[in-house]
């Protein structure tokens, strides 16, 4: 069982935001879905994914970077070649 508080915590971790109106619906839906996921408790096996590929590596060679204007073109805000972002302090 997840509670509304759990869902709020998860929304915070995922930075998706949640408002009080949605909280009840999401919580209800999550419980139904998570209950369905519980069927995985019955799965048995060793858990190691089999991989057919190992050591996929490239040589240390320089390839062209993007022109700065292409880097900045899609950024909504920029300043002196930097991309503007929210404050962290």
């Amino acid at each position: 069982m997840v509670t509304e508080k759990d869902v709020q915590h998860i929304a915070g971790l995922a930075d998706v935001g949640i408002d009080d109106k949605e909280l009840g619906t999401f919580t209800h839906q999550f419980n139904a879905i998570l209950e369905y996921f519980d069927i995985l408790d019955r799965v048995e096996g060793n858990g190691q994914a089999t991989r057919d590929l190992y050591n996929i590596l490239r040589e240390d060679e320089i390839e062209p970077s993007l022109p700065q204007e292409d880097v900045l073109r899609n950024a909504p805000a920029q300043e002196d070649g930097f991309i503007k972002a929210p404050r962290v302090m």
């Binding site: 190992y54 490239r58 970077s65 993007l66 930097f82 962290v88 302090m89």
Partner: protein, 484 residues
């Protein structure tokens, strides 16, 4: 030795940029420091939708070299994982790193312990990961206005070396770091001179109390300073009977203090899971093909055996790759003849004079030091003049001028010892005795200070060029002649 009641316990997590040509997961050049922001980025390291990582082979080879040099066990299978968290410098909102299957585990590094002698600092693991971008904070420290991001650094390959909590003082932490730096440089996988190429998080506690993580230490000297601050802070809290909180603190380099991170940063839930766009590594067998170069410990032993260096000189000279190479160049033409003087002059005098001027060894031509040592060895100049010659050279270099050769400086400043030119010294001695009859009397009366006084007078007259031993001998003779 049992730990004392208030024993300091330190463990380090050291992040070093690997000196590859291209980034860890894309072909962007790692040589970004002199270029403008966001000029070394591509869809991959900018985290553009749809881009996928391709792993740089050399980064893994470099990390394997480090693992072998630090006596680690390379795991049979290792894997990259995503560490999920939001931060504006993190282009994909996850860092590709290694989590439960790191490249290597275990291992150790030997340092000189505070009690003297060597001590093994055990390592927990070594893993490979990508560097995030770089943030510039606009506004002030108390309240930022916004951030500016430069993704040039995003995707630079890092190795994280995690130690066990085996260090017992901030000083040992510094020694560990210096030794680690030297080792990485000897392996040619790391350039310590690149700004920000090394960053350290430290875990520090006082025995029996909670530990504190100090993040964001970006310089070698900063580690000792930050930890000394923490030791004092924690011991003061204990003395006042307060509890030490288990927490993350940031080191503020400019102020030399640590500051508690905000509570939101304390809650970590990184939701690691295997990076589905990369395949696992099985590279243990590569170890056989890795030939390690001579490492600092071996070189230190060799310097003692081959050049007769003292332990301390050997430690200093081999503590930095460049310095060790420099020394060997200086003495190359005559190892047994030059080494005793060269080791002292480089490890003690040159280092001191460079530090005083905040200069790098790069500027100095080993041939100049060889020339200087030859002059000293031949007795052409005194030690005092030797220091003067060295200072002239360094000052000229500092001004960006071509340095004169030691020979030219000696000639220009007329620093050659007057040894051999006994006439001039004899004359100066006679003059000094004649001018100071009181000293002659005192000498006759057996007052020891009189001889030193006369030596000083002669030195003044010969402008320091007289060899002190020779002068002493000649002066004693002259005094004897006068019946003293």
């Amino acid at each position: 030795m049992a730990d004392a009641e208030d024993q300091v316990i330190v463990g380090l997590e050291v992040h070093c940029q690997l000196d590859t040509k291209s980034k860890l997961f894309c072909g962007c050049s790692t040589d970004y420091r002199s270029d403008g922001p966001n000029t070394h980025v591509c869809p991959i390291c900018l985290g553009l939708p749809g881009a996928m990582p391709s792993l740089n082979k050399r980064a893994i080879e470099y990390a394997m070299k480090v693992a072998k040099a630090l006596n680690c066990e390379v795991l049979n299978e290792s894997e990259f994982s995503r560490k999920n968290y939001f931060y504006p410098d993190l282009d994909k909102a996850y860092q590709i790193t290694q989590y439960d299957k790191p490249l290597a585990e275990g291992g150790y590094l030997e340092i000189e312990s505070d009690e003297g002698g060597e001590r093994k600092i055990r390592l927990t693991r070594i893993h490979v990961e990508e560097d995030p971008g770089r943030l510039v904070h606009m506004g002030n420290v108390e309240r930022g206005k916004y951030s500016l991001v430069d993704y040039n650094r995003a995707g630079i390959p890092l190795i994280e070396i995690v130690s066990e909590p085996d260090m017992r003082s901030p000083r040992e932490a510094r020694k560990f770091l210096n030794k680690l730096r030297a080792t990485l440089e000897y392996l040619s996988v790391f350039d310590s001179e690149k700004e920000g190429s090394l960053r350290v998080d430290a875990n520090i506690s006082i025995k029996g109390h909670e530990r504190v993580e100090v993040k964001n230490i970006t310089s070698y000297k900063g580690v000792e300073k930050a930890l000394l601050f923490e030791v004092t802070r924690q011991k003061n809290l204990i003395r006042r009977g307060q509890r030490i909180e288990r927490e993350t603190r940031h080191y503020l380099e400019a102020r030399g203090v640590t500051q508690s991170a905000r509570s939101k940063e304390q809650e970590h839930d990184y939701r690691y899971f295997p990076e589905p766009d990369l395949r696992p590594l099985r590279v243990r067998s590569w170890l056989d093909g890795i030939v390690l170069p001579e490492l600092p410990d071996a070189r230190r032993e060799r310097f003692m055996a081959e050049y007769g260096c003292s332990l301390n000189h050997a430690r200093t000279l081999t503590g930095e790759l460049k310095l060790a190479n420099f020394f060997e160049k200086v003495v190359a033409s005559d190892k047994p003849g030059l080494s005793p003087l060269a080791s002292t002059w480089i490890a003690d005098t040159l280092i001191g004079e460079l530090n005083y001027r905040d200069m790098s060894l790069d500027n100095v031509d080993p041939a100049a030091i060889t020339g200087l040592v030859l002059l000293l060895k031949a007795g052409t100049i005194t030690d005092k003049s030797g220091v003067e010659v060295l200072r002239v050279i360094l000052d000229q270099l500092l001004k960006g001028e071509m340095a004169e050769t030691p020979d030219a400086i000696v000639k220009r400043l007329n620093l050659a010892k007057t040894a051999g030119d006994t006439g001039a010294i004899t004359a100066a001695i006679e003059e000094a005795i004649n001018e100071n009859p009181k000293a002659l009397e005192d000498y006759r009366a057996g007052k020891g200070g009189a001889l030193n006084f006369l030596v000083g007078q002669v030195m003044k007259k010969t402008r320091g060029k007289a060899d002190p031993a020779e002068l002493n001998r000649m002066l004693a003779e002259a005094l004897k002649k006068r019946g003293a």
